[in-house]
Amino acid sequence: MRSLLRIAAALLTIVLASVLVFLALNVLPGDPAAVMLGTEARPDTLAALRRQMGLDQPLPLRWWQWLTGLARGELGTSHTYGVPVAELVAARAVVSLPLALLALLIAVGLGIPAGLFAATRHRRTGDLATMAVALVGLSVPAFWIGILLVLLFAIGLRWLPAGGFPGWGAGIAPGIAALILPAIALGLPQAAVLARVTRTAIVEIMRLDFVRTARSFGLTRTEALRRHALPNALPPIVTVLGLQFSFLLAGAVIVENVFYLPGLGRLVVQSVGGRDLPTLACLVMLLVTAVVAVNLAVDLLLLRLDPRLRHRG
């Protein structure tokens, strides 16, 4: 029941978001027909074009047609590229999704162990050092890490490409090589956030009575950590992962531009440059839907991880 409510709320959020995106990109910039024809256009030409583009329809109807079109997968045609937006999105997603996945892998693979390490050395040098590094990590803009990585590994050591993407057709290895630096740039600040959250969660749980009881029954510290602390620390960690997704996405938009990766984020920025508003509107909706979907997934996962939540009002 609670899951159904959450799903309904998420859908409502997406529909409301579409109103905001529609207003921002279809109403705010003014009449696209007038923009296309310029100021010298004759009124009847303008009216004809408006009719042809469907602009003479009332706004709520235009919004509804746009939204239902999106839901059916009719994303329209890009002004700049002259190809269906859906094709464009698919071609770019094969760069962006692996990048995001790789970044997530780095963030989780680095952040959670670092947090665990700090928690087990609570208030000792190892803890303080890890947390100091984490604080620096979350204070540094991802795209600047990207630039520094290019400076070091592409220009200095010449180990990896400075940017661009060979396409998956060139093979898996060159593709991954092109994504590894951007993924590190994106993943490091997220790892820092995760390390802090993991440490706090573990430290708090290790203090609780049931862990102390388990320890007094002879469970070793590592056992207690693995059997009791880690499973109970998962909900806050998963929550933060979900909340951070929106930062990961924003970071990806910028980092893709640092590395000239032909991903969705670069397409977003390119469509602003080319004033390709229909494409931009689709992309923003897509990304906002992704944020809502990830947070929904996190909520549903939390309901599974923590049975207590299922019975709360």
Binding site: P141, I147, I155, R275, L287, V288, V291
Partner: protein, 275 residues
């Protein structure tokens, strides 16, 4: 309030680092070594020298002056954005806590909706519709941060409302608005202050990203983010140009984060015991 000297270094280090960035930025309002936009092609891409302590960029502009003015713009936008989100988010959060019921639900759903729009996306949309400007950057970052303040205010205020002194004030016939102003807000001010510091740090990070994409203040006004974007073409020739603005951003954010962490520990004795 109990002092925790072992943890206070965070607060003071934060103050020191933040001031190291904020003071030169504030000074740039009155004085910079050179006018930040002054182009001197003959002096382009110079290294460190007494005339240009941090060198010059590809247009011969003085990097120190650019950094000072750029930091001022970044901090100004961050302050504007946080002021916007505090100015709207705190009253909404306080209202949700005071009224409860459907209004509470409605306001919190609304904040969920705003939170689904990463600031970079909002800025991109608004910049596409209206053209990039300082106002667009402030609006985009402020709108994204608004739900944070609404939520923090609400959850802190909800914990104060059932307390006896609030109930006493209620029985004495004070209106909910007066109670919020006289009893609730003063009691959650410290938590809000911590949030303001941390959100300022995030706002500076976001502004840097927007500046990098060319979506913050348009040229010739310098921003730290755009300095980084411009420096990318000269990475091999002049790495200094890509390092200094990033360092300025990172220090400003680090200073504010330390300050926020330190403040939180100082204000919450329970946390203060566990550095």
């Amino acid at each position: 309030m109990a002092e925790h000297p072992d943890r206070n270094w965070s607060l003071w280090l934060g103050v020191a680092i933040t001031l190291a960035i904020v003071l030169p930025a504030a000074l740039s309002l009155a004085w910079t070594p050179y006018p930040p936009a002054a182009i001197d092609i003959k002096a382009r891409l110079q290294g460190w020298s007494p005339a240009h302590p941090l060198g010059t960029d590809p247009f011969g502009r003085d990097v120190l002056s650019l950094l000072m003015a750029g930091a001022r713009n970044s901090i100004g936008i961050a302050l504007g954005a946080v002021a916007l989100s505090v100015g709207i988010g705190v009253p909404l959060g306080a209202l949700a806590a005071a009224r409860g019921g459907w209004l509470d639900d409605l306001l919190m759903r609304g904040s969920d909706l705003l939170f689904a729009f990463p600031a970079v996306l909002t800025a991109i949309m608004l910049a596409a519709a209206l053209g990039p400007s300082m106002g667009v950057a402030i609006l985009a970052i402020g709108l994204f941060n608004l739900p944070v303040f609404a939520r923090v205010t609400r959850s802190a205020a909800v914990r104060i409302w059932p307390r006896a002194f609030v109930q006493a004030a209620r029985l004495s016939g004070k209106s909910r608005t007066r109670i919020t102003l006289e009893h609730i807000l003063p009691n959650i001010l410290d938590q809000l202050l911590v949030q303001v510091t941390l959100q300022l740090a995030l706002a500076i990070l976001t502004e840097a990203g927007l500046g990098y994409l060319g979506l913050s203040v348009p040229p010739p006004a310098p921003t730290l983010g755009r300095m980084l974007a411009d420096a990318q073409s000269f990475l091999a020739v002049s790495p200094r140009l890509a390092i200094l603005p990033g360092l300025a951003i990172a220090l400003a954010v680090l200073g504010l984060n330390l300050l926020g962490d330190g403040l939180r520990d100082r204000l919450d004795p329970r946390l203060g015991r566990q550095p």
